[in-house]
């Protein structure tokens, strides 16, 4: 099935869970990424139980520090 990940259409396996998608997309610091699907946040506790659907729009949101050097 085709979904949109970070603005790019991509073929993924039917029934893929958010947890698997985080793994297959090689997300850095996967335990700290935030995920939204179709403009809703997916709770981290729900990553395992959430199945990505055809045409879903998935965004990965990353912690980013930077700025004042301390």
């Amino acid at each position: 099935m085709i979904i949109t990940i970070a603005g790019v259409k991509k073929e993924v396996a039917e029934g893929i869970r958010v947890t698997d998608l985080i793994y297959s997309e090689k997300i850095e610091s996967p335990e700290y990424v935030s995920v939204s699907i179709n403009d809703d946040f997916v709770l981290r506790e729900a990553f395992d139980a959430t199945i990505v659907q055809e045409e879903d729009v998935v965004e990965f949101l990353y912690f980013m520090g930077g700025g004042s050097n301390c």
């Binding site: 603005g7 610091s29 946040f41 912690f63 930077g66 700025g67 004042s68 301390c70």
Partner: protein, 267 residues
């Protein structure tokens, strides 16, 4: 308040813009912005806001200028190594524009001082590098109903979002809780391309200026991300404010500010 001839000339490129005009320039001169962190992000923000004639700029940072800062923290110069960052920043800003009052706060922000620091300012800039400070700034701004610009930079990437009370999600809606210490790489560990602070910090300055002028659309409800290697800018639409957000949600569980464990400062 009438403009002097020098001011008319200094701000002529602003005043000629129909979205700014003399009225807008006066708004800037009456504006008050607090910049937390005088580093890679705070440096360009402070310089552009000073140049723009934002009348009162506060700058908070406890650190001293280190030689390793100068690759990106363009408000400081080689002669400033060892000097308090807030002092060095103030000197540069005063030289750039004598119209600007620069208030310096040589301190780390914490749960004890942040409400007092932000209370007199119209807009807050998060130019900090660590997550305890980022969450503290978010929570304090939500509680005090202050708008702020969040930003982060690392390697060849940067991102920013703007929080305005009552409009869109806060930083905690998106990121919930700070990651454990050292779980997410910092610039010191991972590196950052110097100009990234310039790109993202200038965008933060732009958000502050638009907020003060009351023009255009802010990055409320959006996370703007930038990848320098691919030159992709993405304006990612964020979900609305989370009803279950600990600080801005319908039933906040965070009603007092939290000092999360601070990363040990290695200068």
């Amino acid at each position: 308040m009438a403009f002097t001839n020098d001011q008319l000339e200094r701000y002529s490129r602003h005043i000629i813009l129909k979205e700014v005009g003399a009225k807008g320039q006066k708004k800037l001169l009456n504006g008050k912005v607090l910049i937390i962190g005088a580093g890679g992000l705070g440096a360009p923000v402070a310089m552009y806001l000073a140049a723009a004639g934002v009348g009162t700029i506060g700058i908070a940072d406890a650190d001293e200028v280190d030689l390793s800062n100068l690759q990106r923290q363009i408000i400081h110069a080689t002669k400033d190594v060892g000097k308090a960052k807030v002092k060095s920043a103030k000197e540069t800003m005063n030289e750039m524009n004598p119209d600007v009052t620069v208030n310096t706060y040589r301190t780390y922000v914490n749960s004890e001082n942040i409400m007092d620091l932000i209370k007199d300012y119209d807009f807050i800039i998060d130019g900090t590098d660590n997550f305890p400070a980022k969450f503290l700034i978010n929570d304090a701004c939500v509680m005090a109903k202050k708008p702020f610009s969040h930003a982060g930079i690392i390697r060849f990437q940067g991102q920013l979002m703007t929080y305005v009370p009552g409009k869109g999600p806060c930083y905690r809606c998106v990121f919930k809780n700070p990651p454990p210490k050292d779980a997410v790489p910092t610039c010191k560990q991972a590196g950052v391309i110097g100009a990234m602070g310039g790109v993202i910090g200038s965008l933060q300055a732009m958000e502050a200026i638009k907020y003060l002028l009351g023009i255009g659309d802010l990055l409320t409800g959006y996370l703007l991300t930038y990848d320098a290697l691919t030159m992709n800018f993405r304006k990612i639409k964020l979900p609305g404010a989370a009803k279950d957000c600990g600080v801005c949600g319908e039933h906040p569980t965070i009603t007092e500010l939290i000092d999360y464990e601070q990363k040990v400062c290695e200068g």
